[in-house]
Amino acid sequence: MWRFIGFRLLQSIPVLLVVITVTFFLVRLAPGGPFSSEKAVIPEVKAALEEQYRLNLPMYEQYIAYLADLAEGDLGPSFKYPGRSVNELIAAGFPVTAELGFYALLVAISIGGIAGIVASLRPNSAQDYIPMSVAMIGICVPSLLMGPILILVFGIYLEWLPVSGWGDMPGDKILPAITLGSTYAAYIARLSRAGMLEVMSQDYIRTARAKGLPEWQVVVRHGLRGGLIPVVAFLGPAFAGLLSGSFVVETIFQIPGLGRFYVQAAFNRDYTMILGATVFLATLIIVFNLLSDILAAWMNPRLRSQYGGR
């Protein structure tokens, strides 16, 4: 197992390097520097600022210097908010996004997983059609639509839940979590249904029944182990999607998370912020993908022994 993990970790490094490099040069290539939209700056001040932010060095040297800083974990100062480093900004915004993502994932896995499993137990019946139709809604009503509609219904018309902001009240978390998580709940429902259907039609399920086990035991002890593997494998891409999705959801609900900062940084051409946030998010995504792949492989005993285990 360790060989597998080590191998995958090694594969991740070039990926990360590619991300950093591409982002770095993309951002630098953008027309208009970070200061061009500001009021006219005195040339000397501009030169001083450029020196401070190393903008007067050739591109290549800027790159190397950046990598050096990166190795120490320093993501550099923010262009837009002088006096604050990118690390600080990320540290401020990320916990919020993480919390949002966590609730959304919780919603997705619990509702989606159960809906899919329940639907798979009686295919082509009401027990199947109803959850799957609701799931279809989750897929076809994107968060940019669902968010406003939920706000309209629950926030404005019914006034049950707050419309925006992110305080300590649990009520704040509900609508954004549902909005972000609904699409993934739908995908997980479909995946778990398909996975369970496939597993339950296998011969070894018939063997389990022939042993006289009650149906619930057949499903839980024999069916789930294989049926949920596609869901576990999906968790990696789901995580990446949740992070991207947070951009939109945080914008709609005015949540001060990393996603919103990121979009703003993009508009403001805050080089270091964009770069820093990209590196940070990309690393997270890569790690999560790796974790979910490892978990999915571990769940399959054949792969487990193939990669060096028992």
């Binding site: 296998q202 018939r206 006289g212 035991q217």
Partner: protein
């Protein structure tokens, strides 16, 4: 002990209602083996599964009948009551141990499960019992393998585990659904022996389902023959084999390959020469020696049988001869031409003269091409016919292989297995090749269809003057067709001889073991 009376089962689908089992009655006694024989579609499996309520009730439907087991009608029991009997008093062993064992659970856990559920013993007791049973079914050193997963066992061992799992609750009746069909012939013999032994030791009744009369000839006490959902004949073993009444039973008996080939072949020169053939496959760090330094000749006009179990390399050799797999080293000469060195146009021309017939008639035909397309393709490719003349040639080919001309524009999925194999044979013969490699051409077919296709191949071989390499694991079949036989084991040649010489006086131990494992030996003695 088990009495089935007038059982009828149907399937109701959108397409209509089919009667899978029609008014059948039979018994199984304690300490005896009752075999149910039938080809695909006979209803034998449906009948036995419905005894235990394993048929999903829509679309299945029990139309009538009684199944008496220990004074209870199983069909009348409520699901919970039936469940108590399943796995405890009546247990099942299935056909394919790879797919029938849960790949995600250890053998030990699966073995202990029915014990823990039905008899409420402790974990420690269950484990002890499981180890005992593994020992009993012939698994060496059970303590070290009990926590392994199914994929870590071989096919034969997995089937032993299935049997252990079925016996762990000391059932009174064991239902075995084609338990040896997926196994190699030597393993099959072992498993049959195991079952017969266990049965006498524990005095249980066995209901043995099979499509192969020869397999049950050695162990069955009573035989029930089914066709199209009905029982056509019942009798005890000797009666059936000596004196079958029903024409279908007789047809089944005749389809059992028996005896050898009478034709004497004058010594001729070799058409195909194989020298030091090695084909190795890389898998990570290890290389698998599928074919290990094999040399033999195929004489012009003869049928050479290539016999071996799985892993013997026989299929790889066949494919190597036609350059379908890359050869690692060694040479293959066809009519003096070095096949292994050919490229491009030379190779294409050679392909005209050598053809291949595959095992699985469904997979060897392109599902999107009609019979016409499939048969015309080689004719057009090699310029034997052009677009305007190819039609007549295709129709004639269909006549040769015994297919109705009217079906020429149909697609593979609209035919039966035997018909598809005829199409495949037609395709192989289209270019009038001199040499044909047939890789298990009848193994995937029902026994009566097998006999027909073998007859067809014999006839066509004579008519077209073919030289054939016939690859199979079935010694009984090859005896009927081959002039000489080469026996393979693990990529090496074990023995080569003329067919009758091999059968009468096998030299090597492995050959003797193979011959000994041919099912239905007692049958041959019966009819000798």
């Amino acid at each position: 002990m088990l009495t089935v009376e007038n059982l009828s089962v149907s399937f109701v689908t959108r397409m209509g209602t089919t009667k899978a089992v029609d008014d059948i009655s039979f018994t199984v006694e304690s300490g005896k083996i009752t075999a149910i024989i039938g080809e695909s579609g006979s209803g034998k499996s449906v009948a036995c599964y419905s005894l235990l309520g394993l048929i999903p009730q829509p679309p299945g439907r029990i139309d009538g009948g009684r199944v008496m087991f220990e004074n209870q009608d199983l069909l009348q029991l409520k699901p919970e009551q039936l469940r108590k009997i399943r796995g405890r008093d009546i247990a099942m062993v299935f056909q394919d141990p790879m797919t029938c064992l849960n790949p995600y659970m250890t053998i030990g856990n699966q073995l202990m499960e029915p014990l823990l559920y039905h008899k409420h013993v402790s974990q420690a007791q269950a484990r002890k019992r499981a180890l005992e049973l593994l020992e009993e079914v012939g698994i060496r050193d059970p303590a070290s393998t009990i926590d392994n997963y199914p994929h870590q066992f071989s096919g034969g061992m997995r089937q032993r585990v299935m049997i252990a799992m079925a016996l762990i609750n000391e059932p009174k009746l064991l239902i075995a659904d084609e338990p040896t069909t997926a196994l190699d012939v030597t393993i099959q013999a072992q498993i049959l022996q195991l079952l017969a032994g266990l049965q006498t030791k524990r005095d249980i009744g066995i209901l043995f389902i099979s499509h192969d009369l020869a397999v049950v000839a050695d162990i069955a006490d009573q035989i029930v023959v089914m066709q199209a959902g009905r029982i056509v004949e019942t009798g005890d073993r000797d009666a059936i084999f000596r004196n079958a009444h029903h024409p279908y039973t007789q047809k089944l008996l005749q389809a059992i390959p028996r005896g050898g080939k009478a034709v004497e072949l004058p010594a001729t020169e070799p058409l195909v020469q194989v020298r030091n053939l090695c084909t190795w496959f890389q898998s990570g760090k290890t290389s698998v020696k599928a074919v290990d330094n094999v040399s033999f000749d195929v004489l012009r006009g003869e049928v050479l049988g290539l016999v071996g179990e799985s892993g013997s390399g026989k299929s790889t050799i066949g494919r190597s001869l036609l350059r379908l797999v890359p050869v690692t080293s060694g040479e293959v000469h066809f009519d003096g031409i070095d096949v292994t060195a050919l490229q491009g146009r030379g190779l294409k021309n050679l392909r005209r003269r050598m053809q291949f017939i595959f095992q699985d008639p469904f997979a060897s035909l392109n599902p999107r091409m009609t019979v016409y397309d499939t048969l015309a393709e080689p004719l057009l490719l090699h310029g034997i016919e052009n677009r305007s003349t190819v039609g007549a040639h295709v129709l004639k080919l269909m006549d040769d292989v015994g297919l109705a001309r009217a079906f020429v524009r149909k697609y593979p999925h609209e035919f039966s297995g035997g018909q598809r194999q005829r199409i495949a044979i037609g395709r192989a013969l289209a270019t009038r090749p001199e040499f044909i490699v047939a890789d298990e051409p009848v193994s995937a077919l029902d026994v009566t269809i097998q006999a027909q296709i073998l007859e067809l191949m014999r006839g066509l071989g004579r008519e077209y003057g073919l030289t054939m390499l016939f690859i199979t694991h079935d010694l009984a079949v090859v005896r009927q067709l081959a002039d000489r036989i080469v026996v393979l084991q693990k990529g090496k040649i074990v023995e080569q001889a003329r067919t009758e010489d091999l059968f009468e006086s096998p030299q090597q131990q492995y050959t003797q073991q193979l011959l000994h494992s041919i099912p239905g030996r007692s049958l041959m003695e019966l009819n000798a």
